[in-house]
């Protein structure tokens, strides 16, 4: 089994991995290697053929493949090495990666720094506890997207979609355009998990009803889906008897959330955040193992790829710094712990190391419900430092706040920073 050394190994050649690689190269590290399991760079963007990507990054509206190509082309032009069809099977604490592919067989890579950019996967039916039979015709929205966009095969003709995540909404439109009848989109929560624009241009444009606070309570059909029953749910998400409605259909698509794909991360013993299902990282996106960084959907699920690229760029730069400052002093003081206050589910990062604060610290987070006219506050050891007014916030849309460097400098003894709603 051959073994090689690299400065930075990046696991995943999707939007996060590509942006991280480019940033690491820009920051001065030559020896960067991307390991990608698919046969093409770009990751899941290659099947996201709809438009709406890149408004922040490129100030124009691109499709997924175009957005991916912008990064992939630069990676290739920069001569950054990548291996396709390559599956990483193990990552160890000492940053040794075991991988395999058709050309090299099994091999190991000893990296000075590793960037985790493996992305996420869709939540399966099982996690939703939907009763009924287990026939053919039940797909996650992403699998259906692959069939339609990459293989050119329609998974069904009459469709019910459970979950109003963005992929579900996008697929409602896509299946409709390809001639399927999308009968209804049912969403368990009283609000949609997707972007508002997608509700307008994917559902409203085509007259597809969105039923909030509804879920699937039965699947009919032993061999192939013959129909599903949906029912309204109460405040505890329990179906309300008497509200059942049967929809004849041959296909049920599930778009009920994404889960970061962290087998390698947990295998390496990296500390995890149970809320995000991603690693615990500091403000440099470094995990609990020095020199291992995480970014993109493997860290926490994003709704915009532009933010993935931005975050991954930071991870790439910080990994480069780690490599170039080999033997740097370990962080001297205890990190500042990030806490979630009222209305906030999680924050990334989970802690701030003062030694790594170069400029403002960007904190991304999600709220736990839909709220209107709120003030999002930053609290230093319980004291409100600053707040920002928001007209609406929703769990489906990631929020961000910047903790200013001068604020951190002004309070050198702060131990905990909380992000949460501030009272008036």
């Amino acid at each position: 089994m051959y073994c090689r050394n690299v400065d930075i190994a990046i696991i995943g050649g999707g939007p996060a991995g590509l942006a991280a690689a480019l940033a690491a190269r820009e920051a001065g590290v030559q020896d960067v290697l991307i390991l990608e399991r698919d046969t093409k760079l770009g990751g899941i963007l290659n099947q996201c053929i709809h438009n709406g990507f890149g408004l922040h990054t490129f100030k124009e509206e691109l499709t997924g493949p175009e957005y991916a190509a912008r990064f992939a082309d630069r990676v290739i032009a920069e001569g950054i090495e990548y291996k396709l069809g390559t599956m990483v099977v193990d990552l160890s604490k000492d940053k040794t990666i075991t991988a395999m592919n058709r050309e090299d067989g099994m091999f190991t890579i000893k990296a000075k720094a590793v960037i985790l950019a493996m992305g996420c996967r869709e939540r399966p039916r099982g996690a939703l506890g939907i009763p009924g039979f287990r026939p053919a015709g039940i797909f996650s929205a992403g699998t259906a997207q692959r069939f339609v966009n990459i293989e050119g095969i329609m998974p069904g003709k009459e469709v019910v979609i459970l979950g109003s995540g963005d992929i579900g909404l996008i697929m409602a439109r896509r299946m409709t355009l390809e001639g399927a009848k999308v009968k209804v989109v049912a969403e368990l929560m009283p609000y949609s998990g997707g972007l508002k624009r997608n509700i307008v241009q994917c559902l409203n444009d085509y007259g597809i009803p969105l039923k909030l606070s509804h879920t699937v309570v039965d699947i009919k059909g032993k061999e192939r889906v013959e129909g599903v029953t949906i029912a309204q749910v109460d405040a505890k998400n329990k179906p309300i008897p008497g509200t059942e409605e049967f929809y004849a259909c041959d296909t049920l698509l599930l778009s009920c959330g994404l889960i970061p794909e962290n087998e390698l991360t947990t295998g390496a013993g990296i500390e995890m955040n149970p809320v995000t299902s991603g690693a615990v990282v500091d403000n440099s996106l470094e995990t609990s193992i020095p020199g291992i960084y995480a970014c993109g959907n493997v860290l926490h699920v994003h709704d915009l790829v532009d933010y993935v690229s931005e975050e991954a760029g930071n991870a790439g730069r910080n990994a480069a710094k780690f490599v170039l400052d080999a033997g740097r002093e370990e962080a001297g003081s205890d990190p500042i712990i990030m806490k979630t206050g009222k209305g906030v589910r999680y924050t990334v990062p989970s802690k701030i190391c003062r030694e790594k604060v170069e400029k403002d610290v960007l904190v991304r987070f999600r709220v736990d419900n839909v709220y209107k006219d709120v003030k999002l506050g930053i609290f230093f050891d319980g004291e409100l430092v600053r707040s920002v007014k928001k007209r609406t916030v929703a769990p489906g849309e990631m929020e961000e706040l910047r903790i200013r460097k001068e604020e951190l400098d002004k309070f050198p003894d702060v131990r905990e920073i909380t992000v949460g709603f501030a009272e008036d």
């Binding site: 509206e61 499709t63 493949p65």
Partner: protein, 118 residues
């Protein structure tokens, strides 16, 4: 005077817009950028959308590539455009931005490739 509530689809902010139509005069409130105003005015007079899909490729290992209308097309023509796309096959090699179809479904808009096939 007519009032319409819209959700802006220009960017992920999804601003809630109120459009007031008073004869020829259209006023927009609720937008946070000028593009919101443009969108709302267009949406009540001539709603338009970009259409994306994929088409089979001949002569390449890549089975299909994705395509889009280069700019938005009238909303009412979406299914006409899809009809054309469904009948379209492209030949490799093809580059991102290559024109797959001029004036798709008489919209005056080009259909262009958004993926490459070697």
């Amino acid at each position: 005077m007519e009032k319409k509530e819209l959700t802006c689809i220009n960017c992920p902010m999804g601003c809630q817009l109120t459009v007031t139509i008073d004869g020829k005069y259209i006023t927009v409130t609720g937008n946070t950028c000028p593009r919101g105003e443009d969108y709302a005015k267009k949406e009540v007079t001539d709603p338009r959308r970009i259409v994306t899909s994929s088409v089979p490729v001949r002569g390449s290992e890549t089975k299909r590539i994705s395509v889009k209308t280069k700019t938005d097309i009238p909303k009412g023509k979406i299914f006409d455009v899809m009809e054309v796309i469904k009948k379209t096959t492209v030949n490799a090699p093809i580059e991102i931005g290559d024109v797959v179809c001029e004036n798709v479904a008489d919209t005056g808009v080009q259909l262009v490739a958004t993926q490459r096939a070697k």
